[in-house]
Amino acid sequence: MFKKLFFDYKLPVYILLVISIIIPGIFPFTLPVAVPSETRAAYMYIDSLPEGSTVIVSNMMYAAVWPEIGACTVSIFNHMFSKNLKVVMIGWEPETPILFERALDYAKKAGALDGKVYGEDWVNIGYIPGDEVSIATFADDVWFKPADYFGASFEELPLMQDIRSVGDADLFIMFDTGISRIDATIRQIMPKSQAFIIGGVMGAYYGYSMPYYQAGQTIGVLGSIKGAAAYETMSGIAGPASLTMNTISLTHVFVFVLIIATNVVYFRGKQGRRKM
């Protein structure tokens, strides 16, 4: 039996994984989310900004990373708009501007955008191709693409009149989806900004962003869905990340049990082979 389990594992593993994903949806439960110190630091800094402060948000999200980076974006948007901060959004992937609008829909549902006007309280600049070259150009001249995502000139948008370079904003928040892009944004933007936060990185690159946090180059870091859920815990505004943590809890327990099971199967199989 153990030899069979060692080789024919796929069906039972896949079925148990699917069950562990479905159960939290049918029987929801809530567990407190521990807040890492780097996420707390990011929250405290954004919370300390006076009303009317300007924040530039740079993002590289696309559809596949929406569950991770989108959750971080939504949690920070909810907080920033509830504090009446002004937000300028820039995307470095073709899909990012549409996903910004999707994140804003969450903010609308949470009531964070009530009474706010596009062009005065937030601007979606859209997508600029060119990776690090465009990031470097944007750092010095925010107006080098002088129209927003909807085609309106910056001259018509009151919020953009005082923002000519990233140094004119009170805070720069980046959400990144790859190692090279984390480096590129920190290289080009961080030295020129008044304050810098890594607002969201994928789980696989969370450890990669820690040296920057420890060196003081970023005020804080939000690591994937866990960071977003911790941020929502601090801000008190529930979002998609908090809902996902239930599923993450159960699937992580399943993976833990899977590791124990694979070792039991392996060692029992080894003993069986030794007896033979």
Partner: protein, 214 residues
């Protein structure tokens, strides 16, 4: 030999552009020229998007034309959705009209996220095959993996709050140390690569056909 096939011309151009950007960065000299180079490279990036679109369309049109077995119907479907989405995106405001956003949010996004979610099944299978304690190194790897797993899930802190502390230490100390080395090594490697390119010592830059003097 035509000038555009001459390897030395491209190396010299690369060196000139690099010098202009370095002078602008360190001494803030040649600002307008450096801005022009930056803006031009952004335009070139936009063109590569267009080239990618054309290549993709050519590839699938070729399959449809040749009636490639088990492929041409999928290619035909691809071309219909591809150009359909492109045409819808051209409706003003370009790329941000409501129909285009609806197609993206309700069809493409869910399809793409679902494809990514299927990786979870692959991961589960890989974990079952990989995390067998065959030696001391795999034992340490397994223990660290389990600690990080329980640190990331709220249920870990509910079982024992120490999982969060231990997991945070693993990320902050050994993991950060390794990634710090990776960051520094990558940066040094990038500088070395750049110096080789501008001096013309990097194999493969420019294209091999130029090096062979065709």
């Amino acid at each position: 030999m035509a000038f555009y096939k001459n390897r030395r011309v491209f190396i010299t151009l690369t060196l000139l552009c690099t010098l202009i950007m370095i002078l602008d960065f360190f001494f803030e000299a040649l600002g307008p020229l450096a801005d022009f180079l930056s803006t031009t490279s952004i335009f070139l990036g936009s063109f590569t998007l267009g080239i990618g679109m054309i290549n993709l369309a050519r590839l699938h049109y070729g399959h449809v034309n040749r009636r490639t077995e088990k492929q041409w119907t999928l290619s035909a479907l691809f071309i219909v959705f591809y150009f359909g989405t492109f045409i819808v995106g051209l409706i003003p405001p370009i790329g941000s009209n409501e129909i285009f956003k609806w197609l993206y949010n309700n069809i493409y996004l869910h399809a793409d996220v679902s494809m990514g979610a299927m990786i979870a099944l692959l991961y589960a299978g890989a974990i079952y095959r990989t995390f067998q304690v065959k030696n001391r190194a795999s034992f340490v790897f397994m223990i660290a993996f389990c600690l990080i797993l329980l640190r990331n899930a709220p249920i870990g802190a509910a079982i024992w709050p120490g999982f969060t502390t231990v997991g945070d230490w693993i990320i902050s100390v050994p993991t950060s140390a390794v990634f710090r080395g990776v960051i520094i090594g990558t940066a040094i490697g990038l500088v070395a690569f750049g110096i080789r390119v501008v001096l013309g010592k990097q194999p493969g830059y420019p294209a091999r056909s130029m090096e062979e003097g065709e």
